[in-house]
Amino acid sequence: MKAGSNLEKVLEGGYFAVTAEVGPPKGTSASVIRRKGELLKFYCDALNVTDNQTAIVRMSSLSGSVILREMGIDPVMQMVVRDRNRIAIQSDILGAVALGIRNVLCLSGDHQKFGNHPDAKGVYDIDSIQLVQTLKTMRDEKKFLCGEGISGEVLLFIGAVENPFADPFEYRVVRLAKKIRAGADFIQTQAVYDVNKFSKWIEMIRDRGLDKQVHILAGIIPIKSVGMARYMRDNVSGVSVPDEIITRLEGAKDVKEEGVKISLEIIDQLKGIDGIHGIHIMAVAWEDIVPVIVERAGLLPRPVL
Protein backbone atom coordinates (compact mmCIF):
# COMPACT_ATOMS: atom_id res chain seq x y z
CA MET A 1 0.00 0.00 0.00
CA LYS A 2 1.28 3.41 -0.93
CA ALA A 3 -1.16 5.53 1.01
CA GLY A 4 -3.73 3.15 2.47
CA SER A 5 -6.72 5.15 1.25
CA ASN A 6 -10.04 3.40 0.81
CA LEU A 7 -9.80 3.89 -2.95
CA GLU A 8 -6.39 2.27 -3.05
CA LYS A 9 -7.62 -0.67 -0.94
CA VAL A 10 -10.63 -1.21 -3.20
CA LEU A 11 -8.57 -1.10 -6.38
CA GLU A 12 -5.70 -3.19 -5.03
CA GLY A 13 -8.28 -5.65 -3.69
CA GLY A 14 -9.43 -6.22 -7.25
CA TYR A 15 -12.92 -4.75 -6.77
CA PHE A 16 -14.67 -2.74 -9.49
CA ALA A 17 -14.38 0.76 -7.97
CA VAL A 18 -17.01 3.49 -7.94
CA THR A 19 -16.15 7.14 -7.46
CA ALA A 20 -18.25 10.25 -7.96
CA GLU A 21 -17.78 13.96 -8.01
CA VAL A 22 -18.61 16.59 -5.40
CA GLY A 23 -18.56 20.12 -6.77
CA PRO A 24 -17.90 22.66 -4.00
CA PRO A 25 -20.26 25.66 -3.69
CA LYS A 26 -19.69 29.18 -4.98
CA GLY A 27 -19.87 30.22 -1.37
CA THR A 28 -18.89 29.47 2.19
CA SER A 29 -21.38 26.79 3.23
CA ALA A 30 -19.80 23.56 4.47
CA SER A 31 -23.26 22.00 4.59
CA VAL A 32 -23.41 21.95 0.78
CA ILE A 33 -20.43 19.58 0.82
CA ARG A 34 -21.85 17.62 3.76
CA ARG A 35 -25.23 17.17 2.07
CA LYS A 36 -23.57 15.77 -1.07
CA GLY A 37 -21.31 13.61 1.11
CA GLU A 38 -24.29 12.15 3.01
CA LEU A 39 -26.08 11.41 -0.24
CA LEU A 40 -23.15 9.60 -1.86
CA LYS A 41 -21.28 8.10 1.08
CA PHE A 42 -22.64 4.52 0.88
CA TYR A 43 -22.65 4.38 -2.89
CA CYS A 44 -19.03 5.25 -3.67
CA ASP A 45 -15.55 4.22 -2.55
CA ALA A 46 -14.18 7.74 -2.76
CA LEU A 47 -15.45 11.17 -3.75
CA ASN A 48 -13.58 13.62 -5.97
CA VAL A 49 -13.65 17.25 -4.92
CA THR A 50 -13.18 19.44 -7.97
CA ASP A 51 -10.67 22.29 -8.07
CA ASN A 52 -12.37 25.43 -9.42
CA GLN A 53 -13.80 23.40 -12.27
CA THR A 54 -14.21 25.13 -15.63
CA ALA A 55 -12.11 27.92 -14.09
CA ILE A 56 -15.06 29.18 -12.03
CA VAL A 57 -14.16 30.25 -8.51
CA ARG A 58 -15.55 27.93 -5.85
CA MET A 59 -14.62 26.76 -2.37
CA SER A 60 -11.15 25.18 -2.53
CA SER A 61 -10.81 21.47 -3.17
CA LEU A 62 -8.57 21.16 -0.12
CA SER A 63 -11.30 22.52 2.19
CA GLY A 64 -13.98 20.41 0.54
CA SER A 65 -11.82 17.32 0.93
CA VAL A 66 -11.25 18.03 4.62
CA ILE A 67 -15.00 18.40 5.20
CA LEU A 68 -15.59 14.99 3.57
CA ARG A 69 -12.72 13.45 5.54
CA GLU A 70 -14.35 14.60 8.79
CA MET A 71 -17.44 12.61 7.73
CA GLY A 72 -15.38 9.44 7.29
CA ILE A 73 -15.43 9.70 3.50
CA ASP A 74 -12.29 9.07 1.45
CA PRO A 75 -11.77 12.22 -0.66
CA VAL A 76 -9.90 12.52 -3.95
CA MET A 77 -8.54 16.05 -3.91
CA GLN A 78 -8.34 17.40 -7.42
CA MET A 79 -5.47 19.76 -8.14
CA VAL A 80 -4.96 21.80 -11.30
CA VAL A 81 -1.74 23.53 -12.37
CA ARG A 82 -3.62 26.55 -13.74
CA ASP A 83 -3.77 28.49 -10.48
CA ARG A 84 -0.70 27.54 -8.44
CA ASN A 85 3.03 27.57 -8.97
CA ARG A 86 5.34 24.80 -7.77
CA ILE A 87 5.73 26.42 -4.34
CA ALA A 88 1.98 26.65 -3.63
CA ILE A 89 1.37 23.17 -5.03
CA GLN A 90 3.91 21.45 -2.80
CA SER A 91 2.78 23.46 0.20
CA ASP A 92 -0.88 22.50 -0.33
CA ILE A 93 0.13 18.86 -0.69
CA LEU A 94 1.93 18.89 2.68
CA GLY A 95 -1.16 20.44 4.26
CA ALA A 96 -3.50 17.99 2.59
CA VAL A 97 -1.52 14.98 3.78
CA ALA A 98 -1.38 16.45 7.28
CA LEU A 99 -5.18 16.73 7.24
CA GLY A 100 -5.64 13.10 6.22
CA ILE A 101 -6.14 13.44 2.48
CA ARG A 102 -4.59 10.48 0.70
CA ASN A 103 -5.78 10.65 -2.92
CA VAL A 104 -4.79 13.49 -5.23
CA LEU A 105 -5.88 13.80 -8.84
CA CYS A 106 -3.53 15.85 -11.05
CA LEU A 107 -4.93 17.91 -13.93
CA SER A 108 -3.93 20.83 -16.15
CA GLY A 109 -7.32 22.47 -15.54
CA ASP A 110 -9.69 24.09 -17.97
CA HIS A 111 -8.17 27.23 -19.44
CA GLN A 112 -9.06 30.38 -17.48
CA LYS A 113 -10.70 31.75 -20.62
CA PHE A 114 -13.72 29.48 -19.95
CA GLY A 115 -14.31 30.63 -16.39
CA ASN A 116 -15.72 33.64 -14.58
CA HIS A 117 -12.36 35.45 -14.49
CA PRO A 118 -11.26 35.10 -18.13
CA ASP A 119 -8.63 37.83 -17.70
CA ALA A 120 -6.82 35.95 -14.94
CA LYS A 121 -3.15 35.06 -15.41
CA GLY A 122 -2.82 31.34 -16.01
CA VAL A 123 0.05 30.03 -13.91
CA TYR A 124 0.98 26.74 -15.65
CA ASP A 125 4.38 26.82 -13.97
CA ILE A 126 4.52 23.03 -14.24
CA ASP A 127 2.28 20.82 -16.36
CA SER A 128 0.10 17.93 -15.19
CA ILE A 129 2.70 15.25 -15.96
CA GLN A 130 5.31 17.20 -14.06
CA LEU A 131 2.80 17.49 -11.19
CA VAL A 132 2.36 13.71 -11.10
CA GLN A 133 6.15 13.31 -11.06
CA THR A 134 6.51 15.92 -8.31
CA LEU A 135 4.03 14.05 -6.08
CA LYS A 136 5.78 10.74 -6.72
CA THR A 137 9.15 12.27 -5.79
CA MET A 138 7.61 13.78 -2.65
CA ARG A 139 6.15 10.40 -1.67
CA ASP A 140 8.88 7.93 -2.70
CA GLU A 141 12.01 10.00 -2.14
CA LYS A 142 10.62 12.37 0.47
CA LYS A 143 12.05 15.24 -1.52
CA PHE A 144 10.72 18.49 -2.90
CA LEU A 145 11.13 19.34 -6.56
CA CYS A 146 14.27 21.31 -5.64
CA GLY A 147 15.85 18.22 -4.08
CA GLU A 148 15.57 19.30 -0.45
CA GLY A 149 14.24 16.75 2.02
CA ILE A 150 10.71 16.57 3.45
CA SER A 151 10.14 15.61 7.06
CA GLY A 152 7.46 13.00 7.65
CA GLU A 153 5.71 10.54 5.36
CA VAL A 154 3.95 11.85 2.24
CA LEU A 155 1.22 9.25 1.95
CA LEU A 156 -0.31 9.71 -1.47
CA PHE A 157 -2.29 7.63 -3.95
CA ILE A 158 -1.63 9.56 -7.14
CA GLY A 159 -4.24 10.01 -9.83
CA ALA A 160 -4.17 11.50 -13.29
CA VAL A 161 -6.80 12.05 -15.93
CA GLU A 162 -6.99 11.02 -19.53
CA ASN A 163 -9.23 11.95 -22.38
CA PRO A 164 -9.24 8.99 -24.76
CA PHE A 165 -11.27 11.05 -27.23
CA ALA A 166 -8.89 13.97 -27.63
CA ASP A 167 -6.66 14.29 -30.67
CA PRO A 168 -4.30 13.06 -31.97
CA PHE A 169 -5.97 9.74 -31.04
CA GLU A 170 -2.92 7.47 -31.53
CA TYR A 171 -0.70 9.74 -29.46
CA ARG A 172 -3.01 9.70 -26.41
CA VAL A 173 -1.65 6.29 -25.40
CA VAL A 174 1.95 7.48 -25.65
CA ARG A 175 1.06 10.36 -23.36
CA LEU A 176 -0.77 8.10 -20.92
CA ALA A 177 2.33 5.88 -20.76
CA LYS A 178 4.26 9.00 -19.88
CA LYS A 179 1.82 9.80 -17.06
CA ILE A 180 2.18 6.28 -15.70
CA ARG A 181 5.96 6.52 -15.86
CA ALA A 182 5.72 9.85 -14.08
CA GLY A 183 3.95 8.06 -11.22
CA ALA A 184 0.20 7.80 -11.76
CA ASP A 185 -1.38 5.02 -9.68
CA PHE A 186 -4.89 5.48 -11.05
CA ILE A 187 -6.51 7.19 -14.01
CA GLN A 188 -9.97 8.73 -14.29
CA THR A 189 -11.08 9.29 -17.86
CA GLN A 190 -13.26 11.83 -19.62
CA ALA A 191 -16.89 10.75 -20.05
CA VAL A 192 -17.40 7.71 -22.24
CA TYR A 193 -20.38 7.64 -24.62
CA ASP A 194 -18.63 6.15 -27.65
CA VAL A 195 -17.81 2.70 -26.26
CA ASN A 196 -16.41 1.52 -29.62
CA LYS A 197 -13.82 4.25 -29.76
CA PHE A 198 -13.09 3.74 -26.06
CA SER A 199 -12.54 0.01 -26.69
CA LYS A 200 -10.03 0.81 -29.43
CA TRP A 201 -8.19 3.05 -27.01
CA ILE A 202 -8.11 0.46 -24.23
CA GLU A 203 -6.86 -2.10 -26.75
CA MET A 204 -3.86 0.14 -27.45
CA ILE A 205 -3.39 0.44 -23.66
CA ARG A 206 -3.39 -3.34 -23.30
CA ASP A 207 -0.98 -3.77 -26.25
CA ARG A 208 1.57 -1.76 -24.30
CA GLY A 209 0.80 -3.60 -21.05
CA LEU A 210 -0.23 -0.36 -19.40
CA ASP A 211 -3.41 -1.82 -17.90
CA LYS A 212 -1.18 -3.87 -15.60
CA GLN A 213 0.59 -0.79 -14.32
CA VAL A 214 -2.32 1.50 -13.49
CA HIS A 215 -5.98 1.34 -12.43
CA ILE A 216 -8.24 2.91 -15.05
CA LEU A 217 -11.66 4.23 -14.01
CA ALA A 218 -13.90 5.13 -16.94
CA GLY A 219 -15.82 8.40 -16.76
CA ILE A 220 -19.63 8.47 -16.77
CA ILE A 221 -21.69 11.65 -17.14
CA PRO A 222 -25.43 10.89 -16.87
CA ILE A 223 -27.44 12.88 -19.40
CA LYS A 224 -30.43 14.78 -18.05
CA SER A 225 -31.83 16.36 -21.20
CA VAL A 226 -31.51 16.48 -24.99
CA GLY A 227 -30.11 19.99 -24.69
CA MET A 228 -27.37 18.79 -22.38
CA ALA A 229 -26.43 16.00 -24.79
CA ARG A 230 -26.21 18.43 -27.70
CA TYR A 231 -24.25 20.91 -25.59
CA MET A 232 -21.73 18.24 -24.63
CA ARG A 233 -21.41 17.09 -28.21
CA ASP A 234 -20.87 20.61 -29.54
CA ASN A 235 -19.17 22.57 -26.76
CA VAL A 236 -17.32 20.38 -24.30
CA SER A 237 -13.72 19.87 -25.38
CA GLY A 238 -12.96 16.28 -26.15
CA VAL A 239 -16.33 14.71 -25.41
CA SER A 240 -17.67 12.56 -28.20
CA VAL A 241 -21.43 11.95 -28.07
CA PRO A 242 -22.58 9.63 -30.90
CA ASP A 243 -25.64 10.78 -32.87
CA GLU A 244 -27.62 7.65 -31.95
CA ILE A 245 -27.58 8.75 -28.30
CA ILE A 246 -29.05 12.12 -29.25
CA THR A 247 -31.69 10.44 -31.45
CA ARG A 248 -32.60 8.06 -28.62
CA LEU A 249 -33.06 10.92 -26.17
CA GLU A 250 -35.08 12.94 -28.68
CA GLY A 251 -37.48 10.03 -29.14
CA ALA A 252 -37.82 9.25 -25.44
CA LYS A 253 -40.99 9.94 -23.44
CA ASP A 254 -39.04 10.20 -20.18
CA VAL A 255 -35.72 11.78 -21.15
CA LYS A 256 -34.16 11.51 -17.68
CA GLU A 257 -35.01 7.81 -17.45
CA GLU A 258 -33.60 7.28 -20.93
CA GLY A 259 -30.43 9.10 -19.84
CA VAL A 260 -30.11 6.76 -16.86
CA LYS A 261 -30.65 3.73 -19.10
CA ILE A 262 -27.92 4.93 -21.46
CA SER A 263 -25.52 5.32 -18.52
CA LEU A 264 -26.42 1.84 -17.24
CA GLU A 265 -25.83 0.28 -20.66
CA ILE A 266 -22.45 2.00 -20.94
CA ILE A 267 -21.48 0.84 -17.42
CA ASP A 268 -22.55 -2.68 -18.31
CA GLN A 269 -20.31 -2.68 -21.39
CA LEU A 270 -17.43 -1.13 -19.46
CA LYS A 271 -17.63 -3.84 -16.76
CA GLY A 272 -16.86 -6.38 -19.44
CA ILE A 273 -13.79 -4.58 -20.78
CA ASP A 274 -10.49 -6.06 -19.66
CA GLY A 275 -8.33 -3.36 -18.08
CA ILE A 276 -11.17 -1.21 -16.71
CA HIS A 277 -11.10 -1.27 -12.93
CA GLY A 278 -14.00 1.00 -12.10
CA ILE A 279 -16.15 3.98 -13.00
CA HIS A 280 -16.08 7.62 -12.08
CA ILE A 281 -19.50 9.29 -12.18
CA MET A 282 -19.53 13.02 -12.84
CA ALA A 283 -23.19 13.94 -12.35
CA VAL A 284 -22.79 17.67 -12.67
CA ALA A 285 -25.75 19.34 -10.90
CA TRP A 286 -27.53 15.96 -10.76
CA GLU A 287 -25.84 14.25 -7.81
CA ASP A 288 -29.19 12.72 -6.73
CA ILE A 289 -29.01 10.32 -9.63
CA VAL A 290 -25.71 8.73 -8.55
CA PRO A 291 -27.22 6.38 -5.92
CA VAL A 292 -29.88 5.32 -8.44
CA ILE A 293 -27.29 4.51 -11.10
CA VAL A 294 -24.94 2.68 -8.71
CA GLU A 295 -27.81 0.58 -7.35
CA ARG A 296 -29.35 -0.25 -10.73
CA ALA A 297 -25.91 -1.07 -12.14
CA GLY A 298 -25.66 -3.80 -9.51
CA LEU A 299 -22.65 -2.21 -7.86
CA LEU A 300 -24.02 -2.39 -4.30
CA PRO A 301 -23.07 -2.94 -1.59
CA ARG A 302 -19.69 -1.23 -1.76
CA PRO A 303 -16.88 -3.26 -0.19
CA VAL A 304 -16.03 -2.42 3.43
CA LEU A 305 -12.26 -2.86 3.83
Binding site: V81, R82, R86, S108, D110, H111, K113, F114, G122, Y124, D125, I126, D127, S128, I129, Q130, Q133, T134, L145, V161, E162, N163, A166, D167, P168, Y171, V174, R175, A177, K178, R181, A182, Q190, S237, G238
Partner: protein, 215 residues
Amino acid sequence: MKSITVKKPFDEIKESLKDVEKVFLVGCGTCATMCHTGGLLEVLEMKEELEKSGKKVTGWMVPPVACDDVTKNAIDENTDAIKEADALLVLSCAFGIHSVVIFSDKPVFPATNTLYIGKEDTPGHFSRVCIQCGECVLAFTAGICPIARCAKQLLNGPCGGAQGGKCEISPDLPCAWHLIIERLSKSGQLHKLEKIVPPKNWGKNLTNISPIKRS
Protein backbone atom coordinates in the same frame (compact mmCIF):
# COMPACT_ATOMS: atom_id res chain seq x y z
CA MET B 1 12.55 39.00 -36.02
CA LYS B 2 9.41 41.02 -36.17
CA SER B 3 7.86 42.81 -33.24
CA ILE B 4 4.11 42.54 -33.69
CA THR B 5 2.04 45.53 -32.66
CA VAL B 6 -1.62 46.53 -32.79
CA LYS B 7 -3.00 50.06 -32.70
CA LYS B 8 -4.29 51.29 -29.37
CA PRO B 9 -7.92 52.48 -29.51
CA PHE B 10 -7.90 56.20 -30.44
CA ASP B 11 -9.94 57.02 -27.32
CA GLU B 12 -7.17 55.61 -25.14
CA ILE B 13 -4.58 57.74 -26.98
CA LYS B 14 -6.80 60.81 -26.58
CA GLU B 15 -7.05 60.09 -22.85
CA SER B 16 -3.21 59.87 -22.56
CA LEU B 17 -2.90 63.17 -24.41
CA LYS B 18 -5.69 64.99 -22.57
CA ASP B 19 -3.32 67.55 -21.00
CA VAL B 20 -1.21 67.84 -24.15
CA GLU B 21 -1.79 70.52 -26.80
CA LYS B 22 1.12 70.05 -29.18
CA VAL B 23 2.38 66.62 -30.24
CA PHE B 24 5.30 65.32 -32.27
CA LEU B 25 4.77 61.92 -33.93
CA VAL B 26 7.34 59.13 -34.27
CA GLY B 27 6.78 56.08 -36.49
CA CYS B 28 9.03 53.16 -37.40
CA GLY B 29 10.16 52.05 -40.86
CA THR B 30 10.50 48.36 -39.97
CA CYS B 31 8.15 46.22 -37.87
CA ALA B 32 5.46 48.85 -37.27
CA THR B 33 5.45 49.63 -41.00
CA MET B 34 4.93 45.93 -41.81
CA CYS B 35 2.19 45.65 -39.19
CA HIS B 36 0.53 48.80 -40.55
CA THR B 37 0.58 50.35 -37.10
CA GLY B 38 3.35 52.95 -37.40
CA GLY B 39 4.49 53.37 -41.00
CA LEU B 40 4.35 56.59 -42.98
CA LEU B 41 0.68 56.08 -43.83
CA GLU B 42 -0.39 55.46 -40.22
CA VAL B 43 1.66 58.41 -38.96
CA LEU B 44 -0.11 60.72 -41.44
CA GLU B 45 -3.50 59.23 -40.50
CA MET B 46 -2.73 59.82 -36.82
CA LYS B 47 -1.73 63.43 -37.63
CA GLU B 48 -5.09 63.99 -39.28
CA GLU B 49 -7.06 62.35 -36.45
CA LEU B 50 -5.24 64.37 -33.79
CA GLU B 51 -5.76 67.61 -35.68
CA LYS B 52 -9.44 66.80 -36.03
CA SER B 53 -9.65 66.40 -32.26
CA GLY B 54 -8.05 69.80 -31.74
CA LYS B 55 -4.37 68.96 -31.21
CA LYS B 56 -1.50 70.68 -32.96
CA VAL B 57 1.00 68.33 -34.59
CA THR B 58 4.37 70.10 -34.60
CA GLY B 59 5.98 67.53 -36.87
CA TRP B 60 6.58 63.85 -37.50
CA MET B 61 9.28 61.40 -38.48
CA VAL B 62 9.56 57.76 -39.51
CA PRO B 63 13.13 56.61 -38.79
CA PRO B 64 14.18 53.43 -40.64
CA VAL B 65 14.31 51.46 -37.34
CA ALA B 66 12.88 53.16 -34.25
CA CYS B 67 14.61 50.83 -31.78
CA ASP B 68 18.10 51.57 -33.15
CA ASP B 69 20.59 54.32 -32.32
CA VAL B 70 19.62 56.06 -35.61
CA THR B 71 16.58 57.26 -33.65
CA LYS B 72 19.00 59.67 -31.95
CA ASN B 73 20.03 61.16 -35.31
CA ALA B 74 16.41 61.47 -36.39
CA ILE B 75 15.54 63.23 -33.11
CA ASP B 76 18.50 65.60 -33.58
CA GLU B 77 17.35 66.43 -37.12
CA ASN B 78 13.89 67.38 -35.80
CA THR B 79 15.06 69.35 -32.76
CA ASP B 80 12.93 72.42 -33.42
CA ALA B 81 9.63 70.63 -34.00
CA ILE B 82 10.24 68.40 -30.99
CA LYS B 83 11.15 71.38 -28.82
CA GLU B 84 7.85 73.02 -29.75
CA ALA B 85 5.84 69.92 -28.77
CA ASP B 86 4.54 69.15 -25.26
CA ALA B 87 4.89 65.43 -25.83
CA LEU B 88 5.89 62.70 -28.28
CA LEU B 89 3.46 60.06 -29.46
CA VAL B 90 5.31 56.95 -30.67
CA LEU B 91 3.70 54.60 -33.18
CA SER B 92 6.32 51.85 -32.92
CA CYS B 93 6.68 48.80 -30.73
CA ALA B 94 7.78 49.16 -27.11
CA PHE B 95 11.44 48.81 -28.15
CA GLY B 96 11.13 51.94 -30.27
CA ILE B 97 9.30 53.78 -27.52
CA HIS B 98 12.10 52.80 -25.17
CA SER B 99 14.72 54.30 -27.56
CA VAL B 100 12.79 57.56 -27.86
CA VAL B 101 12.69 57.78 -24.06
CA ILE B 102 16.49 57.37 -23.95
CA PHE B 103 17.10 60.12 -26.52
CA SER B 104 14.47 62.69 -25.51
CA ASP B 105 13.46 64.27 -22.21
CA LYS B 106 9.94 65.08 -23.41
CA PRO B 107 6.95 63.05 -22.12
CA VAL B 108 6.50 60.01 -24.38
CA PHE B 109 3.23 58.16 -25.03
CA PRO B 110 2.63 54.86 -26.84
CA ALA B 111 0.16 54.59 -29.72
CA THR B 112 0.41 50.80 -30.00
CA ASN B 113 0.29 47.67 -27.90
CA THR B 114 3.29 45.37 -28.43
CA LEU B 115 2.13 41.77 -28.56
CA TYR B 116 5.06 39.47 -29.26
CA ILE B 117 7.77 38.39 -31.62
CA GLY B 118 5.78 36.87 -34.41
CA LYS B 119 5.31 36.32 -38.06
CA GLU B 120 2.81 37.41 -40.64
CA ASP B 121 1.08 34.20 -41.79
CA THR B 122 -0.99 35.90 -44.48
CA PRO B 123 -1.30 39.65 -45.06
CA GLY B 124 -2.68 41.17 -41.87
CA HIS B 125 -2.70 37.88 -39.90
CA PHE B 126 0.02 37.51 -37.28
CA SER B 127 0.93 34.72 -34.92
CA ARG B 128 3.23 34.40 -31.93
CA VAL B 129 6.51 32.62 -32.56
CA CYS B 130 8.70 33.37 -29.54
CA ILE B 131 8.23 34.84 -26.10
CA GLN B 132 11.96 34.99 -25.39
CA CYS B 133 11.82 32.60 -22.45
CA GLY B 134 15.58 32.31 -22.23
CA GLU B 135 15.62 28.49 -22.28
CA CYS B 136 14.86 27.32 -25.81
CA VAL B 137 12.98 24.02 -26.06
CA LEU B 138 12.81 23.77 -29.85
CA ALA B 139 15.36 20.90 -29.86
CA PHE B 140 12.73 18.35 -28.82
CA THR B 141 9.64 20.08 -30.18
CA ALA B 142 10.47 19.93 -33.88
CA GLY B 143 11.13 23.64 -34.08
CA ILE B 144 7.56 24.50 -32.99
CA CYS B 145 7.40 26.34 -29.69
CA PRO B 146 4.87 25.13 -27.08
CA ILE B 147 5.80 28.02 -24.79
CA ALA B 148 4.82 30.60 -27.40
CA ARG B 149 2.00 28.65 -29.03
CA CYS B 150 0.32 26.37 -26.44
CA ALA B 151 -2.32 28.19 -24.34
CA LYS B 152 -1.18 26.29 -21.24
CA GLN B 153 2.52 26.35 -22.13
CA LEU B 154 2.69 22.59 -21.60
CA LEU B 155 6.03 20.85 -21.97
CA ASN B 156 4.44 17.40 -22.00
CA GLY B 157 1.40 18.10 -24.15
CA PRO B 158 -1.14 17.98 -25.61
CA CYS B 159 -3.85 18.38 -22.96
CA GLY B 160 -7.22 16.68 -23.25
CA GLY B 161 -8.80 19.69 -24.90
CA ALA B 162 -7.21 19.34 -28.33
CA GLN B 163 -9.68 18.33 -31.03
CA GLY B 164 -9.16 18.07 -34.75
CA GLY B 165 -5.79 19.78 -34.42
CA LYS B 166 -7.30 22.86 -32.81
CA CYS B 167 -6.86 24.33 -29.35
CA GLU B 168 -9.82 24.26 -26.96
CA ILE B 169 -9.66 28.02 -26.46
CA SER B 170 -10.29 28.93 -30.10
CA PRO B 171 -11.17 27.10 -33.31
CA ASP B 172 -8.76 29.48 -35.09
CA LEU B 173 -5.80 28.46 -32.97
CA PRO B 174 -3.85 25.38 -34.08
CA CYS B 175 -2.85 23.05 -31.23
CA ALA B 176 0.91 23.52 -31.00
CA TRP B 177 1.33 19.96 -29.71
CA HIS B 178 -0.67 18.59 -32.60
CA LEU B 179 1.76 20.34 -34.97
CA ILE B 180 4.74 19.05 -32.99
CA ILE B 181 3.48 15.45 -33.02
CA GLU B 182 2.64 15.63 -36.73
CA ARG B 183 6.09 16.93 -37.62
CA LEU B 184 7.96 14.47 -35.40
CA SER B 185 5.87 11.57 -36.77
CA LYS B 186 6.76 12.48 -40.34
CA SER B 187 10.46 12.33 -39.59
CA GLY B 188 10.17 9.22 -37.41
CA GLN B 189 11.22 11.17 -34.31
CA LEU B 190 8.13 10.69 -32.17
CA HIS B 191 10.12 8.74 -29.57
CA LYS B 192 11.66 12.08 -28.57
CA LEU B 193 8.42 12.84 -26.73
CA GLU B 194 8.54 9.74 -24.53
CA LYS B 195 10.95 11.42 -22.15
CA ILE B 196 9.26 13.35 -19.34
CA VAL B 197 10.38 16.94 -19.76
CA PRO B 198 11.23 18.39 -16.34
CA PRO B 199 9.79 21.69 -15.05
CA LYS B 200 11.15 24.73 -16.80
CA ASN B 201 13.38 27.43 -15.40
CA TRP B 202 11.12 30.44 -15.99
CA GLY B 203 13.68 32.56 -14.13
CA LYS B 204 16.03 32.46 -17.13
CA ASN B 205 14.17 35.38 -18.56
CA LEU B 206 10.49 35.85 -17.88
CA THR B 207 11.00 36.82 -14.26
CA ASN B 208 14.63 37.89 -14.49
CA ILE B 209 15.24 41.57 -15.17
CA SER B 210 18.98 41.68 -14.49
CA PRO B 211 21.16 43.05 -17.30
CA ILE B 212 23.49 40.48 -18.83
CA LYS B 213 27.00 40.62 -20.26
CA ARG B 214 27.96 38.95 -23.53
CA SER B 215 29.90 35.73 -22.80
